[in-house]
Subunit: 319 residues, 2 copies
């Protein structure tokens, strides 16, 4: 996979993925193109040629730059997040749907059927759901972000079926704990309720205590993206959308795990302040998946909520 | 529903729907706009104002004409059929996806949340399927037509969720028996093997005898489109995609029903000539659906394959 493009490369997962790809040796990279609407850090000390592109996914000139040399792998992480897509319908449709389609078209034009990896989300599901969602359950999104991801799942699958790309879609659980600031994802509170108390600050939990969460640590998510690169197309067959395994935990148990890792004072920094808009979105997501196919293909979940919090705390110490 | 737009109005189902809508009195129509890329017959002897529009769904001027007066109901039947969408990927995406989205956008711009009815298809399903497909089974299309319809199901659902349209999507079984000529749908043989022998002509059956078919007569399909207009939004809830009930029959039993309705000589006009391309598409479709929700909402299937063939033969006598 000598030429690799990553969109959303300056994002939280994007930057970790860049490091992971450059530090692995199994699949050497000769050219790495990092595309984002915001500036990101540029890795140094690597033999790979690094090209950064800053701007809109729908910008044709930028797309020509990104696809100047024939790409072998496209990892498409860029997206407008859930609360933002809900607040601005046109923006979400433009970036999340039209942006993805434009990338797929650019891959098709290349004519070499590059690997095309896209991240999707539990947000494609909603409505009446079984406690544990099987792999063959229908998407029924209750948010614009989820609807856009569900459309893109079908786009990638169809471009794959036609032989335009070797498509692989990973439905990620909610990623936690994210460092840094809250973002406009409806799931932002999931990280806030751990991160802010650890920093001695207060945090608000916007959903009901019994709301189930379906979680994955950032490290596992990046591992999954690297892992999916190594799966032969023949092992994937025709169904290219994979619900990844995760950790299922009630929201109050998630916060109790913070108490176990620290003390009751830290845990008490979380205030329960129900926000019906956020709760409506989060409650529409399933709390657990069977993820049978993904497990059989070697994808792994974290061991549990305690491991996720411990990993985050260890990382923060090392910064 | 005083102002009604029908796309694909000159098509086989479109023309029947026009007659059905104009002959019912429960929901009077003051203006009926008939849009198609081909010319169709214009109904006469009606008090409704009839406007015909001929041309491409993506033509902005025509769209402005269609939406000149605020519409109350849009019934979107226009589509590039399956074999054609498979042969010309760009055409299928343009008409089936972009065309539908342009109509939804025009409805949204109106601001009055019109009823938006779209026909979808069994072709959204594929892959490993249970013998009888439940309502909550995931789409996994194995054709471009199916992929495009699956994308549109999500578009209509999302525009509905946002309050831009009152969306209702009907997943139609294969419609049989169609009068006239074969078309470029992969399912065209299903009608040909009945219609051509009844006309004293030969017909080719392109799939294996045991291939299950999921059928609905044209009259039932039009009935369903009229029926869905009368269902209150509250009864539909948030899930707006309905798999309609139908008749499940093996292909050889379907042709045997022709023998029962006529004689062995007529039935012998069907030649079994397996076409792997057509068979691959048709075999990817499910042969039976639970259609639990649609049945509860009052949608009805034909009584069986004999009734479907008898209805066709009676119609042909009356022409």
């Amino acid at each position: 996979m000598s030429h690799v493009l990553i969109t959303g490369a300056a994002g939280f997962l994007g930057q970790r993925l860049v490091n992971a790809l450059l530090s692995q040796t199994e699949r050497p990279i000769s050219k790495l193109i990092l595309w984002d609407h915001q500036p990101g850090s540029v890795p140094s000390g690597t033999e790979a040629k690094i090209v950064t592109i800053q701007g809109d996914l729908l910008d044709e000139d930028l797309r020509r730059q990104a696809f100047a040399d024939r790409l072998d792998v496209v990892i498409h992480l860029a997206a407008v997040v859930s609360s933002e897509a809900e607040a601005d319908f046109d923006l979400g449709m433009r970036i999340n749907v039209d942006g993805t389609r434009a990338l797929l078209e650019a891959c098709r034009t290349q004519g070499n059927c590059p690997v095309f990896i896209m991240t999707s989300s539990v947000a494609v599901f909603g409505g009446d759901l079984p406690t544990t969602v099987p792999d063959n359950w229908q998407p029924a999104p209750q948010s614009s972000y989820g609807a856009e991801k569900a459309i893109c799942e079908r786009l990638v699958s169809e471009y794959c079926r036609r032989g335009f790309v070797d498509g692989r879609v990973l439905r990620l659980p909610t990623i936690a704990v994210r460092p840094g600031k809250p973002n406009r994802a409806a799931s932002s509170f999931v990280s806030s309720v751990i991160r802010e108390p650890l920093n001695g600050e207060g945090a608000v939990c916007a959903v009901a205590p019994e709301t189930p969460l379906w979680l994955m640590s950032p490290n596992r998510a990046v591992e999954a993206m690297v892992h999916v690169l190594g799966i032969p197309a023949s092992a994937l067959g025709s169904e290219r959308v994979l619900s990844l395994p995760g950790v299922s935990v009630r929201t109050d148990d998630w916060i109790a795990a913070l108490g176990r890792a620290t003390n009751s004072e830290t845990m008490a920094r979380v205030a329960w302040d129900f926000d019906p808009d956020i709760a409506a979105i989060v409650q529409s997501w399933p709390g657990e998946f069977e993820a049978t196919r993904a497990k059989a293909l070697g994808f792994e979940a974290d061991a549990g909520e305690d491991e996720i919090i411990a990993a985050y705390m260890a990382e923060q110490k090392n910064i």
